[in-house]
């Protein structure tokens, strides 16, 4: 065996710097003491057991799931049409509109959040889960579009033409050919956009009013040191779920690009 090169050492240091802090989360969630600091006093599963007893937390989780699911379906539906148009047609202003759709990725969240709050109040929409859903749809759209664009890139345009040629109309073709063929891309898009919405804090903080989503609820709990280990337990579960969802999404995304 040769000695690890400097580059290998650097790579491991880099990965450690990036991900070690994240690993502290599950580590301290098993700590029996309430103070989040070394040394660890003892091991316990109590914090996980007590999660089920907290009604406000369950309500916040439920809010997040609802918002995430609706925002994911909305963003994916809108993204489906946009992605098909971007891949299939060449039109004036195409690059500009593609850029516009991708814009939420680079605008600072705080700017989007405050301007949305102003806009929603202006049109008479009180801060609520509805406004969070609208905000998250906007935020998740670029993710949906880029995933679905790669699904349409691998989609042979003559499949749709073959369907028209066999006497089938535009809408039936979309339902019978386009949707099933890009289905893995659609599933990947729903999973990713759901995760984007589920993790999102800034927009939800501004727009959720008295119906907090999970990240907003957790933020509220951090002020109470006694509740902190509970939050860590919850955070560990969410971390695990997020990773699983993204792995699943990646699996579907790859399947969509390999089935030509």
């Amino acid at each position: 065996m040769s000695r690890p090169s400097k580059l290998t050492i650097y790579a491991f240091a880099y990965l450690g710097f990036l991900y070690l802090p994240v690993l502290f989360l599950p580590l301290f969630s098993f700590n029996s003491g309430t103070i989040v600091a070394f040394p660890i006093k003892g091991w316990t599963l109590d914090w996980y057991r007590k999660l089920g007893e907290q009604d406000a937390l369950i309500q916040a989780l439920w809010n997040s799931l609802t918002v995430g699911l609706i925002a994911a379906v909305l963003a994916t539906s809108l993204g489906l049409f946009a992605a098909r148009a971007f891949v299939r047609y060449r039109f004036r202003g195409q690059r500009a509109s593609e850029g516009l759709v991708m814009l939420p990725l680079v605008i600072p969240g705080i700017i989007v959040a405050s301007s949305m709050l102003v806009l929603f109040l202006f049109i008479g929409l009180k801060p609520s889960l509805t406004s969070v859903i609208l905000g998250h749809t906007f935020l998740a759209l670029p993710f949906a579009v880029s995933i679905l664009k790669s699904a349409f890139d691998d989609f042979d345009a003559s499949l749709e033409e073959a369907s028209y040629d066999l006497g089938v109309g535009v809408f039936e073709t979309f339902y019978r050919v386009t949707l099933p063929v890009v289905a893995p891309g659609i599933i990947a898009s729903i999973l990713v956009t759901f995760t984007v919405s589920f993790d999102e804090f800034v927009l939800a903080f501004f727009l959720s009013g008295n119906q907090p989503t999970l990240p907003v609820y957790i933020w509220g709990q951090i002020r109470f040191p006694a509740k902190l280990p509970n939050v860590l337990a919850l955070g560990s579960i969410l971390l695990l779920m997020s990773v699983l969802l993204l792995l699943l999404a990646e699996y579907f995304r790859r399947r969509s690009s390999s089935s030509k």
Partner: protein
Amino acid sequence: MTETNIIKLRGVEKRYGSFTAATGINLELKEGEFFSLLGPSGCGKTTVLRMIAGFQEPSEGHIEIDGVSMDGVPANKRPTNMVFQSYAIFPHLNVGDNVAYGLRGRVAKPEIEERVAEALEMVELGGLQKRGATELSGGQRQRVALARALIMRPKVLLLDEPLSALDKKLREQMQFEMRNLQQSLGITFVMVTHDQYEAMTMSDRIGVMFQGRLMQVDTPTMLYARPCNREIASFIGEMNILPAAVQNEQAETSMTVDMAAFGKIEIEKNPNVTNRAKNIIVGIRPEQLEISPDKPADYPATLQGTVSNVAFYGENVHYHVKTETFEKPISVSVPNYFHTVDFQRDDKVWLGVQGASVIDLGQDKQ
């Protein structure tokens, strides 16, 4: 085979911005014929096919199918079906559902099953209904695409380079099978191809396209024997093209031409040639030239030259003969069967040609 026209194209033109893909297309296709659109890639043949199918609207002109104008009629309402170059087999459906696709919701279930079985039988894929679309070989995909189109009982079947994705052996086999299928069904087939052999072996008639224009529409035999100009003469098979001067044009069907060092010879006037002039070009097929060590008797036009290249093809041998008069070497093809005399490079040889083998190609545009 009746003599009614199933498809009529009148003055059809297709432009994309400033680019003209096809122009001045006038064409009448007979019911039950196998017609091929032949031409190099980018000549506009696929555009014409897609306009017949209804995927593209002509910028100008009109298309009629079976006496009905196709102006504004979308692809799904036309009595045509198409076999795509990529075959476009639906990847999420099995063979049976692919073939049944166009009938679903329009025809009763038991009838669909019966017709699918029948269509698969016809393309020799009987019993493969449950096979997945991704488990098919190239040849099988092509057969599924054929069955899926033919099950619709179209008035016209359109084929876009249907054999280009197959290997050589399979391609030759499918050429015969498709020709037999077309003859037993009696449906009009319109095929687009860039392969002249494919077009020649399968078609009743061929339309040759260059740069968006339909240059000649004729039977394979006439296209080979009486091409209307230099481009077609050299695109279909191989052709030696020589300059010639018309000596005497009085006769109705024949004329005497002077082929430089070859001498004077009486040849037939090509009815397909439109631009007549005093200085013309003529074509001679390589296999119609006599090559011998001595001056051949009974040949009105002869010329001496030197063998500059020999290529053995198995069924025949190709010689390139360099002459003093002509810039390009003259190509001669001799069937292996007659190959009693071997010529080597640098051998002195005589070439001979009969008047019937010299094709009048009219005035050269170049």
